[in-house]
């Protein structure tokens, strides 16, 4: 499992790409789960969200922005990309994931499948 390593190594042509695992929040409510991921510096165009069976993978390159003409005094960011993947419960409906990226924070909403939602059973008194 990828997530067992603190730095995920991925085979890339000619080089290994080190990835940073971003922190996530997962909050469940009646209808589904909200997954929040801190991805500073990531723009929508570079973000990849993949669902493969019950595995959800979030991937994005880490860009340092336009400062190529300047000399780095020091830099604290080492990895070339963010990557985090996890296994989703079968109760979730991965076909209906809603994603929003704002100020470097990704919010994913994964609804529960209809049959997993709590039902209220009307009892008629005859």
């Amino acid at each position: 499992m990828d997530t067992k390593q603190d730095v995920v190594k991925r085979e890339a042509p000619g080089a290994e790409v080190a990835a940073l695992i971003p922190p996530v929040d997962v909050i469940e409510d009646e209808a589904g789960i909200t997954v929040t991921v801190d991805l500073p510096g990531v723009v929508k165009e570079n973000l990849t969200i993949r669902v493969d069976g019950d595995k959800l993978t979030i991937e994005a390159p880490i860009s340092l922005g336009a400062s190529h003409d300047m000399e780095p005094v020091y830099a604290e960011i080492r990895a070339a990309q963010y990557k985090r993947s996890f296994t989703l419960s079968r109760e979730l409906d991965t076909a209906k994931i809603d994603a929003a990226l704002k100020e470097g924070v990704l919010n994913l909403y994964v609804p529960k499948a209809e049959q997993a939602k709590p039902h209220r059973i009307e009892v008629k008194v005859g």
Binding site: V26, M70, E76
Partner: protein, 168 residues
């Protein structure tokens, strides 16, 4: 309640190893590891605060880079998920201080699964600049995609002073 148990286990396992990764990062960039304190504006209930594993306010990495050329210094700091108005920047002598508050404003329903790894609350990060910088309107800052960029003009006749910078 065993809902999402599978997901929970996978994530917590992952978090163990993330913590190791942080240890390594911390050695590389000790100054980037910042303690977040519980903010006044978050929606976490008193009950939530009482549970230490779910309490808001925790350690997080605010990675920063400093670049320079002949005339200016560029500081890039990763502070995802803030409002521009909740950030404040100050330079005193050769120390840049960035403070702010990341608000937690989601509903937490009792009895449901939750995992909180992102840090919320107020923080303050200090960065030592390679040289002193000029005060006044020459300092600029922008906040985009969770990254704060601060551009400062180098000062040749260094004097002790404090300046505040507005984010445009």
């Amino acid at each position: 309640m065993r809902v999402l148990e599978e997901l929970k286990q996978g994530l917590e396992e992952a978090w163990e190893t993330v913590a190791e990764g942080w240890q390594r990062l911390r050695q590389q960039a000790a100054g980037a590891v910042i303690r977040f304190k519980s903010g006044e504006h978050d929606t976490m209930s008193e009950e939530g605060r009482a549970d230490p594993s779910q309490r808001l306010g925790r350690w997080a990495i605010l990675a920063g880079d400093v670049y320079e050329d002949e005339n200016k210094i560029l500081v890039r700091l990763e502070v995802p998920g803030l409002n521009k108005d909740d950030l404040h920047i100050e330079v005193r002598d050769d120390v840049l201080t960035v403070g702010g508050e990341k608000r937690f404003q989601r509903e937490l329903t009792e009895g449901h699964y939750r995992l909180l790894q992102c840090a919320y609350g107020s923080f303050s990060r200090q960065l030592r600049l390679p040289v002193r910088v000029r005060a006044g309107g020459e300092a600029k800052a922008t906040y985009r995609d969770g990254v704060l960029r601060i551009e400062l003009q180098k000062d040749t006749d260094a004097q002790s002073r404090a300046i505040n910078i507005q984010i445009s």
